[in-house]
Symmetry: C2
Subunit: 191 residues, 2 copies
DNA sequence: ATATCTGCCGAATAGCCGTTCGGGAGCCTA
DNA sequence: TAGGCTCCCGAACGGCTATTCGGCAGATAT
């Protein structure tokens, strides 16, 4: 959010921050504008509506989150065990969320509250993200049961996405939380 | 929500349903009133403000959810292993959420979006619920590490609370989902 | 210097939503 | 019959918010 950035980017950065911290329902255009160093009407010079700003934040969040995870997984050798690929994805997702990326956190926080019309449009982009997780889980699944991995995926993503809502910088760093998430999901709490 | 109920209860039931399905940010007083079979101003005969309605829904949701879980756990004999007590709690929580209790689902969905002032008040009631989980986890924890069980608790509750947002009645019933949640959390995905 | 384009502001508007107020219908009590 | 109480409605108000519009400063170009 430095002053050198273009007005458009400043608006998106500010909106991502607001959506992450306050959620969609409490995101006011005036506050987004303030974070971008301008007043509310000035936003309309860059965007057609408030919803357009929000939608672009959501799409950016999904894209960059997906890119980050895929990169961290695919950097592993092709002979890496599926479980280790899944572990890498979990760690990458949590670290990305907790490292302070407002866009991905905004998605985790506000996606469920989006107006249904916008939600369906964003869902198309989300499908890429979702199916990547599906492939990872299916490959690593011992049982191979389809319904089970689907439910497990829902649980996993909900679990990981909750991080930004309760994590506070303290004794445990993002990497430790990320590894614990992987241990917990893969190995269980009381094996 | 039958017609025989008092106006006050009809309002609370309707509000719980709205909060569960649309979330706090999109909950309109007019829609709550409509679900209760009346018009918006009539609500003020029973409650002082919209926030008061919401707060009572949250408190009821927490109370009845806690009661339900505690009952299902404490019915087990005193010699039941801690892991089995934890398992019973997980199953009870998921079943309660998915059985269609709007109050507990409303808490799971809308608690994070509450205005901070109300949130702190509700948090006091939530502490009972939270500490019960803490005790269950500590007792069942193999490591006994405090920070680890705290993080595990956050992950667990987030995981379970997400159920109402993605569950659709179909092949898998609430009980099956509940058992799978317990298996997943306790045993892990790829042990 | 004139014209033009970009990026922003000030003022104003329209709509939605929570809230207030006065009153009316039904019912119980005396 | 008269009074009072419960529960609800109709109308209206005020505040907040997204949005529109006209204009102005600064940079750039001609």
């Amino acid at each position: 959010m430095s002053d050198g950035d273009s007005g458009r980017k400043r608006i998106l950065d500010s909106a991502a921050f607001i959506l992450r911290t306050k959620g969609f329902g409490a995101a006011r255009l005036s506050e987004i504008a303030q974070g971008a160093g301008m007043l509310a009407p000035s936003i309309y010079h860059h965007f057609k509506s408030k919803d357009e700003v929000v939608e672009e934040v959501m799409l950016s969040g999904i894209y960059r989150n997906t890119r980050h995870i895929v990169a961290k997984v695919e950097v592993l050798g092709p002979e890496t065990a599926p479980v280790d690929r899944l572990r890498a994805a979990i760690v990458a997702h949590v670290e990305f969320l907790l490292s302070g990326d407002d866009y991905s956190s905004a998605v985790a926080r506000s996606f469920g509250d989006l107006p249904s019309e916008m939600k369906q449009r964003v869902l198309a982009a989300y499908a890429t993200f979702d199916s990547y997780w599906r492939d990872l889980l299916v490959a690593a699944s011992p049982s191979g049961n389809d319904a089970q991995t689907t439910v497990a995926r829902k649980f996993l993503i909900a679990m990981l996405d909750s991080c930004p809502s309760w994590y506070r910088a303290g004794r445990l760093g993002p990497t430790q939380i990320a590894n614990q998430a992987a241990d917990l999901f893969l190995g269980g709490f009381a094996p």
